[in-house]
Amino acid sequence: MIELRNIAKYYRTGSVNTYVLRRITLDIREGEFISIMGPSGAGKSTLLNIVGMLDDASEGEYSFLGEPVHQLNEKKRASLYKEHMGFIFQSYHLIDELTVYENLETPLLYKKIKGSQRKSMVCDTLDRFQIVGKKDLFPNQLSGGQQQLVGVARALIANPKLLLADEPTGNLHSAQGKEIMDLFKKLNEEGTTIIQATHSETNSAYSRRIIRLHDGWLESDE
């Protein structure tokens, strides 16, 4: 599903290139549940962003479902992304001005899904995550766990093949974190490919493959 070949990412500071990622080569098949681990600054988020097409690699090749992502233009990449991926963030990134219902609806709007179908999809999702009672609340009226639940719901509403999660439980209590991880596990069993970046050994225990990064190098893949 995902093939990374010699992916590198650096930032230019003055005349020196500061590397965040170095020569990462990685294959990920459909249905996997992967944790990317490593200390702060190891390049976890960067790798996740590149895989999620939120950022470009400086060097190397990346193909997703057989499409050479590094050669695609913005429009093609956006449609590929829109079709197949969902993203979850440590700090949720919900749109503050929109209610829970409207936040869930937004990705569907961008996918140009018709009104009635959109409505039923949002209602199904609200049901599935048991947040029907919160649908008219704004993000700042929810607890962190509840906000992340909405974030997960939003990421999953269009049934993506691949779920990317960047420290999904980083801002949550352990109980709330466990709920999210149990949810991930269930989703993976239903067929969704999941890649999460995490610090937590507890969280990584849910996954079946652990990739460790250190100073931008791929240290181990088990």
Binding site: L54, D55, I95, E97, P107, Y110
Partner: protein
Amino acid sequence: MIRNYLTVALRNFLRHKGYAAINIVGLAFGMASCLLVLLFVWHELSYDTYHPDHERLYRISTMGGTEADVSLIAGCSENVTPHLRENYPEVEQVFRIQPERPRTVRFNDQAVQVDNIKYAENDLLTMFHMPVIHGSSTGALERPHTVVLTRPIAEQLFGVDNPVGQTIQIDTAHYEITAVVDASPTNTHLKFGIIVSWSSMQESDWRHSWDGGFFKTYVKLAEGTDPDAFESQIATLIHEQIGERLAENNRQAILFLQPVSDIHLYSHCRWEAEAPGNINNVYIFSVVGLIVLLIACLNFMNLSTARAASRASEVGTRKVVGAARTQLMGQFLGETLLTALLALAIALLLVDVSLPAFNGLAGTGYLFADVFNPVMMMIMGGMVLLVGGVAGIYPAFVLSSHRPAHMLRQTNAGHFGGRNFRRAVVVIQFALAVIMIVGTMTVYKQLDYMREQPLGFDLKQKLVMEMPRGAVTFATHNTMKYEFTNHPAVTAATFSTSVPGRWNYQWRCFPTGEAETNMHTINWYGVDRDFLESYDIELIAGETFLPDCRGAMCEGILLNEAAVRTFGWGSIDETPGKHLWAENRPVIGVIRDFHLKGLQSPVEPMGMFIMGEDFRYLTLSIDVNNLRPAMTFVQETYDELIPDELFNFFFLDEDFDRQYRAEQKLGTIFGAFALLGVMIAGLGLFGMASYSAQLRTKEIGVRKVLGATVGNVVNLLTREIIVLVVTANALAWPVAYLAADEWLATFAYHTSLGWMTFAWAALSALAVAVVAVGYQSFKAARANPVEALKYE
């Protein structure tokens, strides 16, 4: 999708009410002033363009005088019209008009004073756009003693009744009303109150002469006529008739055409029907209006951009959930366009509210509905598109082009906003504001200067009555003066053909025995013997009029210093004893120059003679401490002596001040716009300050933890603004100086540009800026540092 955008836009408005209000209201004020200026410009440019086939309408004017002293005169000999009618097939229609003095018009026991009475021929009614309300325009002005009323006069005398067929009395003569036409619009140089048929005009020697007799004459050329060819055909018409006489005196009288729609702005002939407009003012006001709009637009752009930058996270999130770049651009552009549209709505409201004041100031008669003509609508649409588009394009492009990973990481959105761009905006705004403040202050300084300059005569405590024609004769004028001074509060009375600030005779003369090329146009006042003393005009050489002269003894004339200079006589003391053509009158004395007109123009050469007729103005010197009894006495005396006419008077100082009406108007408009500009700029700065204080919360927190006092922090936040405003001043001063200097140079007598003007402009701009920023800075500086640092 649209609903989603609208929801976000609306909730953003509500969440940042203050910001949204500043943004929208500022823009609305800018748009409103721009719309008002547009209305003014539109009005000025629309003069006499509403007549049918207006591009074929021309006035025939005369270029007369000698080669050394050419003057353009708004009219031509009365004989031109019949000549054109008979001999020129390309003249489709032609008419003459001649203004009459203000008269009392009566119907039964009703009487009104009508200022705008003109004699005219029937073609006027069909050549010019004059909607007929009652009667018919066909032949309405053919017979003698017929009149056409305009609606306001008809309503004053007859209410809503149809007055056609009734008879009114003007002075002592009776006239039959043949039609009522609509009131003259404000955008015509020819305005009418009552139109009297041409054949009713009194016959006299000076009519029907090819030489002189300047009657305003209008022609409509047949379709397809080349106006240039026609003009060259008629140019020498007068010379063909009286060429010899003109050549004898070395004079010329060349006819030329003026397009009717150009007269208001471009014609500066002698004896125009009304004071012409000024194309320069049209330019100045356009620029000023645009400046205010520009300041408001910059604000809008600046604040929109700043706000958009703080929405980086929303943009990132939208990208993450699948927004394409074009969709995001659409969202931001849509939002700014919507805001601009809202501002336009408020601007229209402001226009509606300020329209009466505007009409008074600009001399227009706009209704609110007039704002919605197609051209204005297009301009408004363009304004919204431009303002909304430009303000939206920056965030639309910049924000949507970043990779989402950057956007989401962005904790300090300020980096997106382009600090230098914002600094530049503040500098430009304040520079424009400073230019306008300097402009306003210069106009007022010049007005004060002109009003305070000694005029060379005594303007104060003078009540002037304009006497009806024929009411006073040489035989009765002394008795009348005696009657009016028979009260302790009336200290003097004097008759004259003119008073300063009003129309006066202008004749050409040359010194007897000198070359005819030394012929010049001289302003003449016919006066009685008390005039010099009453007006306190100084005699500096020779002697004044003899107290009791008869016949030839009264022929002596007085000239002013300017006239002595004009004739090139050099010495003032040697002037008495010279003689002036045409009647070979002896110059008996020289008077000190005094201002006949406002200080815009230099003192012109003028002369005085003892009057024998045309007792037009009676000036009474009044003791203002006893104004009320004096006024009662004057009115009673008037009613007793001239019972048939309405009592009409003015105070000389007030009347003379009308010379400065154009400058006063300019000052008021400039002042209003300058105030608006400064306010909008200040408002924008206030918005920006609150925004940047918010951005720098963390920095301020850290500084306070490290021991910064409130004073240090306020200083930190305001220092930059002060630097920007000072820069703005440095940029604005040279521009303002040049513009103000150029404007002042158009006045014959003008004030100087002191550094105080610039200092005040700088200080007021600085004060506005410091107040706008200070409050926010102080608030930010006073905040608890722990609060600030908790943010991360």
